[in-house]
Symmetry: C2
Subunit: 710 residues, 2 copies
């Protein structure tokens, strides 16, 4: 799946701010992948309709989908007054800077009615305002009542500007320090500096107080540990590795603080399901050189798990269980001693950062656990490979099923999504989808993050392209794959666009690059073939992925704040081309406003050592997603010989690895489909590389042949 905007809107302001500080020139490079991600969204039609609010008429028109927020805002403002606040900021994240959040944390949704995954709100004494990006403008107009202003911008600057205009000097702006990243806080604080308006950290979340008993409770399902055959190392080995890093670190940290939920899940090989699509549980870890402190709801740990964690002792290899809610207090207490706490600033909240004295902080963008987790060892690599083999079987079953059923007109986007989820669910070790399935037909595929609902969806048709971006959670690995298909006769433009997207995929997948190269340095190889024809896409090009963890696993990827590529990392390589008519083509009447189709090809690849002719330390990608591309969408005459060669080699690998799996399960139809769809492709107007000795002979023959054909 594409790197979601959620994480972008959370980080985008910080990114802009920090880059602005380092180089003024960043402003002049607006088409760099970072900002393009925000800028490049396909336009949505903003023409009003019966399903959207209209606050400019009297009385205001509200669709049935709008949520009445009058009462809750009134209650909320009373609480604000009690605290002496002039405004209060309600962000869209949780205390772990999670990409997906539990219902328990959907404060912004509850107070505003708006359910989109990205968007921050501010409530002042008289006004209520929401900032969100273009994906969500229509949705916001459908869900919010007229108590709310919609601002079509993202980042801290527009919000700060609004606050400066709305809140009089001397004003106090409240916020929950556990819902603010360090950088968001710094950025807002900077914008308000010298304005005589101050940010006030309120530890008791104000929304929660008003939400009261209606608020979904904290998830409380059991936390379990993974069997040894699904883990790369024991938690003891991981703890030892991180402690070794602490010892060799030049600033000699005495402890590592883990805030992101997948950090703790990874370290202890523990899982639960607090967050949709993510097998995590609410937790923190303070790993010191002499103790291991896991902050979690202890009642969720069975005696078996407690034993697994050696929780009955206090030695350096015993896990002491402490209450989840006591993290701030404990960190504060620990920081009194002569200690140094190593944190990853990208995932630590201001709430924890603020209680550690500056001189006791060892700051990196990412914690050592985050970085260690990104490099999969041999066993973890094998586990992820195995998950992708089964995932390919599910995908192929679905593609065969579509070929049979779409022509009958019985499949829609929603039932299709259900079907692929069902096929995945039938695979061994399955643990549900790894994100909400993006199943989009025709123009819906032009919306990058479209997901169908039971109520609103489009019927799949032989006359339209169909995009499926989906993935699974398995005990051995997380998957993510996108294929775009067409069951009828695609237009030549659709074929060209698809082929150029594929060429980008191939060019990046077959690249050899020096060790420690950053993804951003090589990202343009995915775009060259599109650029050549005047096409482009407005998103990033890939993201890390976990072993039964996040489908978007930081800090691996192709963007400015991703770390350098290293052997053992897994990254998705996605080549989206959304709404090419809307994004890049000259406006043609009736053709520009609405999207026509969307194309995306996405595979997961492992970073491996490359053997080059002259040696040296080089890397390459090994694609582990093993599902054929759409033959009828490939214009082979556009492919270079090397690209064709790569493609046929990839097909050979698919046959070798998936063929036996299908045969073994007696999936005959699927096996035949596989053979048909992995037949070597031949360029009809072939490039032929002739051995030197034959050049003249063939040249002569050609001349003769051409003579004859004219």
């Amino acid at each position: 799946m594409l790197w979601d905007q959620v994480i972008w809107t959370k980080r985008e302001s910080e990114l802009r701010t920090s880059q602005g500080q380092s180089h003024g020139t960043e402003e002049q490079t607006q088409t760099s992948p970072i900002t393009a991600c925000v800028l490049g969204h396909p336009k949505q039609t903003t023409s009003g309709g019966e399903d959207m609010r209209n606050c400019s008429v009297t009385p205001p028109f509200l669709p049935v989908t709008a949520v009445n927020t009058t009462v809750r805002l009134k209650d909320f403002r009373q609480h604000m007054e009690t605290k002496g606040l002039d405004a209060y900021i309600i962000p869209d994240t949780d205390a772990h800077m999670s990409e997906y959040i539990a219902e328990h944390d959907e404060r912004r949704r509850w107070i505003s009615g708006f359910s989109g995954s990205a968007g921050n709100a501010v409530v002042s004494k008289m006004k209520a305002a929401l900032w969100t990006d273009s994906r969500y403008w229509i949705q916001a107009e459908r869900q919010m009542d007229c108590n709310w202003e919609l601002h079509k911008e993202v980042g801290t600057l527009p919000m700060a500007t609004w606050i400066l205009a709305e809140i009089p000097a001397g004003g106090q702006i409240g916020f929950d320090p556990f819902l603010f990243s360090i950088d968001t806080w710094k950025s807002l604080d900077l914008h308000l500096q010298g304005s005589n308006r101050s940010l006030v950290a309120i530890t008791d979340n104000l929304v929660d107080q008003v939400w009261g008993t209606e608020r979904p409770s904290l998830p409380s399902q059991p936390i379990y540990y993974l069997q040894e055959n699904f883990t790369g190392s024991t938690w003891q080995e991981k703890v030892t590795e991180i402690r070794n890093q602490m010892q060799t670190h030049s600033n000699a940290p005495t402890a590592v603080l883990l805030s992101a939920l997948d950090e703790t899940a990874w370290l202890f090989n523990l899982r639960s399901n607090d967050i949709p699509y993510n097998p995590f549980f609410y937790s923190y870890t303070l790993l010191t050189n002499s103790s291991i402190r896991l902050f979690v709801n202890a009642s969720r740990l069975s005696s078996d798990v407690l034993q697994y964690l050696s929780s009955d002792c206090t030695g350096p290899m015993c896990v002491q269980i402490e209450d989840y809610g006591r993290i701030q207090e404990s960190i504060q207490k620990y920081s009194v001693e002569d200690v140094r706490v190593w944190i990853g600033t990208e995932y630590t909240t201001y709430g924890l950062y603020g209680v550690i004295p500056q001189e006791k902080l060892v700051e990196d963008s990412y914690s050592p656990v985050m970085v260690a987790k990104s490099v999969k060892n041999r066993k973890e690599q094998d586990l992820l490979r195995a998950a992708h083999v089964r995932d390919a079987v599910a995908m192929i079953r679905y593609l065969v099923w579509l070929e049979e059923n779409v022509p009958q007109g019985t499949v829609d986007e929603f039932s299709g999504a259900e079907q692929v989820n069902k096929f995945r669910g039938e695979e061994e070790f399955s643990s549900g989808p790894s994100f909400e399935t993006i199943s989009a037909s025709g123009l819906n595929a032009a919306l990058a993050h479209y997901s169908p609902t039971k109520e609103i969806h489009r019927t799949l048709s032989q006359d339209e392209m169909y995009l499926l971006d989906s993935g699974g959670q398995y005990w051995d690995g997380t998957t993510d794959i996108t294929r775009t298909v067409h069951w009828g006769i695609p237009s030549s433009f659709q074929k060209e666009a698809y082929t150029r997207v594929l060429m980008g995929n191939i060019d990046l997948c077959r690249l050899v690059f020096p060790s420690s190269t950053s993804g951003r340095v090589v990202e343009a190889f995915a775009r060259r073939a599109l650029w050549e024809a005047g096409l482009n896409y407005g998103h990033g090009t890939g993201h890390g992925i976990g072993n039964f963890l996040s489908v978007h696993e930081w800090p691996v990827g192709f963007q400015s704040n991703n770390i350098a590529m290293a052997k053992g990392m897994f990254t998705s390589i996605a080549y989206p081309l959304h709404d090419p008519t809307g994004l890049s083509l000259p406006p043609e009447p009736g053709y520009y406003q609405d999207g026509e189709f969307g194309i995306r090809i996405e595979d997961v690849a492992l970073v491996v050592e490359a053997q080059t002719k002259y040696g040296g330390s080089y890397l390459a990608f090994e694609v582990v997603s093993l599902v054929p591309y759409s033959r009828n969408l490939i214009n082979t005459t556009l492919l270079l010989p090397e690209q064709l060669e790569y493609l046929n080699q990839y097909y050979k690998t698919i046959r070798q690895k998936i063929g036996p799996e299908l045969q073994q399960r007696n999936l005959k139809q699927e096996y035949e489909w596989l053979l048909k769809n992995t037949e070597p492709l031949i360029d009809n107007s072939s490039w032929v590389r002739l051995p030197a000795s034959l050049t003249i002979l063939v040249a002569t023959t050609l001349a003769l042949a051409l003579g004859q054909s004219l």
Copy 2:
């Protein structure tokens, strides 16, 4: 020419600091082009010899090239004591952050004896230390006496670390604020913060006081204006354009301050020759919305020039001449009013920055003049193109001359350099070389910035490769081109390395990319073909270039702090491969230590609009350097059909543009050479693209032919 280390060592620390602030991950991406530039230098043998000092024996051994600094250091320390200083920092630049400096400004050279272009010095009460990069370590050991420590690092951090170790708490460290960039000052200040050691700005330079009458005087040759046929716009038009930018700027600056020497030279179309290879003159400009103030030595302006500048009035389009030395005082005075001064932080010194109150500053990385200068208008483009045509004639004359004379053993690196300079000098509008000619044979070419001397040079031979990186200053444009040649039988590795360097050149030159793309995003296209074989180079990939201005013209290029590409910019595209044996190949005894050869191909290209199939705003490069590559070094079987096609098209352009020029001048031998060297290249083991209708026929023929040949 390659972007020189001089500018790198000046900026490297700032870059690191600012990037470190924005993203901790930068440290993990050490092979990105930025740092690679510093890291990637070929190893020099450091084994001692009779020509290097040995301070560990008694008495120390000093070569004849060592400069005795005992007396000057003693005098210098007395001055330090008078000022109450514990140490004093002596950087390698001038008050305009120039890449090349006049003898008048070679303070670091005078105090230390070390004449290399990059290296900073600190003198304390007891010690004297120099920091320089690997290019200069041997040279420093030859030129410095035992009063000096050599530190093999660059940037502000090692220097600050040394200061903290050497200077006791409470110590005062003096520096000349006019020789410090804003960022260097900030960086050093940050490193020393909280250490109870303070930086003290001393306006009277301490070295100058000791240097006394021995110091070369300020250049004083006449300043002249360019004839209209050599300028793109009049100075009045340029002033109007910049004032328009001031008016539309959101911070409404009332003035622009120009510190870099080429900014003032460009704005007024004035030139002189204060700096080697650069037709600049010591100056500043303060352009306000109602006045134009040029700070310069007035005695250098003839009445003709004064009239040209309308210097006899004080209106908004009259240039008021003020004394060069009064800039600080004038800025300070101006800043008392209700004004806002727009500066480019990269080229403004702390000396001027420090006198403008923070709230009156409008800061960008580059001044609007720097940015405007980088985009050449139609006329400037034509002027630069014309200069490149004449430059190609000089280059071809030299290549023909080499072919004749090298086999006779009569050419050495130094006489070769003199010869190419002579040929350039014979071209119309010539104004000398644009940098010190790099003329390097055999292993010397493996040293990126090698230049031969009258005393030390290598004889050119048919058995070795030869690299020439040179350029000219012409009244209509500045040129820069690199060609690598071999007159005998190159090894297959030499051919492969050369061909892969060329493939990188071609891949970048034929790239189509969206408007406003940053160079750093596409830089890797120049490296792909090398990476593929396990080869790489440790330098940047190109730099801007001026119209009779700098050969390295900021802020255009392919590095992190370059601005986005725009139509009308000129950039060099250089593909160096230095010392591949030392850099990238596995160690082989006796082969690894010393370089064998160096390859570089460098052309200047204009950024133009690209016409794509589906429209949109796209850019491409038009190469304006028009000299054929070395046919005997190209392995055509490595080239892709598209690369070959590009190459042959380039050769066609050379014939069209340079052929008539040679004929017109009756340069018959050169014309024949041109024809021979621009013959279309054919791949001996050709890729042939067959029309679809013929595929089967040819496949059959091929099968038959193959059958016959087996």
